[in-house]
């Protein structure tokens, strides 16, 4: 077996679908604790009661951008509506549609045959590849371990009223929502719909844009200039690009405006005495929060900058990849190569490059 994917979440699953274009299930080993690739996403989406995907037609796990979810939905509904919506950048598949798509792919791609229910705790470079924690040596390894835990502000960590937005929760009569991104905006609407009085605590005014990362950074057009930046500049650019945001639109604005008029919604600078605090503060950032990546860096002396592992433009770890072997990162850990790496398009980007290396590398 030549190829291993460490991580069985959506990034690993998307990479697996790309690898399956050239490899049989028996040639790929996927290491992960959960056999359902959408388990974490499903848990988070359920917690914030998310109904639609922020991504557009391209937000799927298939290796090619066509046929996307809009095309499939148009066929299923026998309506051109999704295609027209997609042309206008107004098509957002429902969470249910997306989950059904993942389930279909899982069944037909041989995912369960490749899956090895094991948590890899250590990756060690050896001659001809990488040793995975006693699971064997693999010539090409893609690490897709996902976000390294939920981020709860330090001052709220021990507050019994606090719950993270991605954890299951109901709403008290008064709710403080901390944050200014998509999860926070979703929580405002959820809490208002539940009849709660909502206090928004934020460090800055929310950024409004359709996608978290501007569209040009999804293609070579924006990436070439991004890759030319030096470490400090790239780090600063990443921080700016990854600032939380949520899409513009009346569906977000009108309920909040109405609630403000009825004094059900207000903005404050700090957490006050509400009955519940929802932390819509996203995930912890930096490889140090991921034990596997932290150990990889420490044991191999990998170059890092401000919490990011320095990667080549294609997501590979330059010190550990050559003509005979590949170590690549996918998902949030690959943002050094692709700012939107924590999206499905980002997972696909790294997977394409990884497959290219796998195919071009001679099998001994």
């Amino acid at each position: 077996m030549r190829v291993a994917v460490v991580g069985s979440g959506l990034a690993g699953f998307t990479a697996y679908q790309t690898l399956r274009r050239k490899l049989e299930p028996e040639e790929i080993a996927v290491f992960g604790a959960d056999d359902d690739p959408a388990a974490t996403f499903r848990r988070h989406a359920t917690a914030i009661r998310q109904r639609e995907m922020r991504s557009e037609s391209d937000g799927h796990c298939l290796p090619t951008s066509f046929p996307g979810l809009a095309f499939r939905s148009a066929l299923a509904r026998r309506s051109p509506g999704p295609l027209i919506g997609s042309l206008l950048d107004r098509y957002h598949p429902t969470v249910d549609e997306f989950l059904a798509h993942v389930e279909r792919l899982r069944e037909r791609s041989g995912w369960d045959r490749s899956l090895r229910p094991a948590r890899v705790e250590r990756i060690r470079a050896v001659d001809g590849g990488f040793e995975l924690d006693g699971e064997g040596v693999f010539r090409h390894v893609l690490v897709a371990t996902g976000h390294p835990g939920l981020n709860v502000p330090e001052e709220l960590r021990d507050d019994p009223r606090a719950v993270h937005s991605y954890e299951p929760h109901d709403y008290a009569s008064t709710v403080t929502v901390v944050g200014a991104g998509l999860a926070a905006a979703t929580e405002w609407l959820n809490a208002l719909a539940a009849g709660s009085e909502v206090v928004s605590v934020r460090h800055r005014e929310p950024v409004r844009q359709p996608l978290n990362v501007p569209r040009e950074y999804f293609s070579r057009r924006g990436l070439e200039s991004f890759h030319r930046l030096g470490p400090a500049e790239r780090s600063a650019r990443l921080r700016a690009l990854l600032a939380p945001s949520y899409p513009p639109g009346r569906q977000w604005d009108e309920p909040v405006a109405r609630a403000m008029m009825e004094e059900q919604f207000r903005i404050e600078e700090s957490v006050n005495g509400t009955a519940q605090i929802v932390c819509a503060t996203g995930f912890r950032r930096g490889f140090r929060h991921d034990p596997l990546l932290a150990r990889l860096v420490d044991e191999h002396g990998l170059e890092t900058t401000e919490g990011w592992i320095v990667l080549s433009g294609d997501g590979t770890v330059p010190a550990l990849s050559d003509a005979t072997r590949t170590l690549a990162l996918a998902g949030v850990a690959a943002q050094w190569a692709f700012p939107a790496a924590d999206t499905l398009a980002g997972a696909r980007y790294v997977a394409h490059a990884f497959l290219r290396r796998v195919v071009s590398c001679p099998t001994p």
């Binding site: 090619t64 951008s65 066509f66 950048d89 293609s219 070579r220 398009a345 394409h352």
Partner: protein, 393 residues
């Protein structure tokens, strides 16, 4: 999609390849070069816009292809007109639309399936893009070289009088030097003949074209023909900027184009005709008659008859006897922006249809009138024998 400049050009050239090939096939089938010229212009206009305008777009949403396509179509048609490419409008629009649709299907579905990284590469197609660009270049260059090699020979008619009738029996361009005159008429007996700047004096007909397509008469001058100035039967013809003197021949037609309905659209444009029975007449023909000046005819200035169809537009008809513009015998005529003045009444013999109509529709014909200037005619307009005139302003 966020295209790179190379991605735009790769995608455009690769998407144009099927259209270029289709244009070449069409050109071979029709024996006309306009599809290849139009395809070349489509590529030229599109690539120029890629280089000068579109490249500055950081992101192009899918819907933008529609307004961009309309702009490109307008520019292509403009350049075709400026370059004198004689293409039927609707066929040219259909070719462009087919090309646009092909590009959309390939851009949204074909190329992403062909190349895994199409979207993230900003539309770049790698070696395939280079190969497609080279193929488009080779196909267009080959078509251009073929067109160049197949150009008809140019024959220069020297200054002076040449005794006719002159019979042209091969595809050629006959260009008259200043003062070149053919006495006794010219007979066209080949397809694809062009006659430019030649004066014809006398002859049964000034110029006769019977049974051959794709004749172009440009800047010819005719006088003293015994029958018709230009006599066209079962033939397709473009007549531009001619001068025909039919004074002294009260029974001949200045231009008579008949029985060529299956030869496509013919055209008479920018001619000046004096005298004769009818200035311009069409029978069972699809001919546009535009920007001509006709005067002193003894029957009708312009006559569209025997189930003919066509536009009669921007003409000036003066001093016609009986009828200025005549739409007759189940014909369908669009009569727009013409000036008809001083038509004379000739109903002395009891024929009411000769009362000096500016415009007359007769015998189950339909004429759509718009913006015509009718002055000093005994009857400005009328319809007889189950015909219909629809006048709008």
């Amino acid at each position: 999609m966020s295209y790179t400049l190379r991605g735009r050009i790769d995608s455009r050239l690769a998407a144009t390849l099927p259209v270029v090939i289709a244009a070449c096939v069409l050109a071979l089938a029709e024996h006309k070069w306009w599809p290849v010229e139009a395809a070349g212009l489509m590529i030229g206009v599109g690539t120029a816009l890629d280089l000068q305008a579109y490249r500055f777009l950081r992101y192009q949403p899918g819907w933008a292809a529609l307004p961009f396509g309309v702009v490109e179509l307008g520019l292509v048609l403009l350049f075709m007109r400026a370059a004198g490419i004689a293409a039927p409008l609707w066929q040219a629009v259909a070719l462009f639309a087919a090309g646009w649709l092909t590009a959309q299907v390939l851009g949204h579905a074909g190329f992403p399936l062909l190349r895994l990284t199409y979207a993230e590469d900003g539309g770049e197609l790698g070696r395939f893009g280079g190969a497609a660009a080279a193929t488009v270049g080779v196909v267009l260059a080959s078509a251009g070289a073929t067109a160049y090699a197949l150009r008809p020979p140019v024959v220069h008619l020297a200054t002076g009088v040449h005794q006719g009738p002159l019979v042209i029996s091969r595809r050629e361009v006959l260009v008259g030097e200043p003062g070149a005159v053919v006495r006794g008429g010219i007979v066209v007996r080949a397809r694809g003949v062009t006659i430019k700047n030649v004066s014809v004096v006398g002859g049964e007909n000034g110029i006769t074209i019977d049974g051959y397509r794709d004749t172009v008469l440009d800047g010819v001058s005719i006088a003293g023909a015994k029958l018709d100035g230009i006599h066209v039967r079962l033939a397709g013809v473009m007549i531009k900027n001619c001068t025909i003197d039919m004074l002294g021949n009260p029974h001949g037609q200045g231009i008579d184009i008949s029985f060529n309905m299956d030869m496509g659209l013919s055209m008479v444009e920018g001619c000046t005709i004096v005298g004769g029975m009818e200035g311009i007449t069409t029978h069972s023909s699809m001919t546009d008659i535009v920007h001509n000046k006709i005067s002193r005819t003894t029957m009708e200035g312009i006559s569209v008859t025997e189930m003919s169809m066509g536009m009669v537009m921007d003409n000036e008809v003066r001093d016609a006897l009986g009828v200025g513009i005549y739409c007759n015998d189940r014909s369908m005529c669009m009569v727009e922006r013409n000036t008809v003045v001083d038509t004379k009444n000739e109903s002395g013999g009891g024929d009411d249809s000769r009362r000096g109509f500016g415009i007359l529709a007769s015998f189950q014909s339909e004429a759509d009138l718009r913006g015509n200037e009718l002055a000093a005619n005994p009857v400005p307009m009328g319809s007889v024998t189950n015909s219909l005139i629809r006048a709008t302003h």
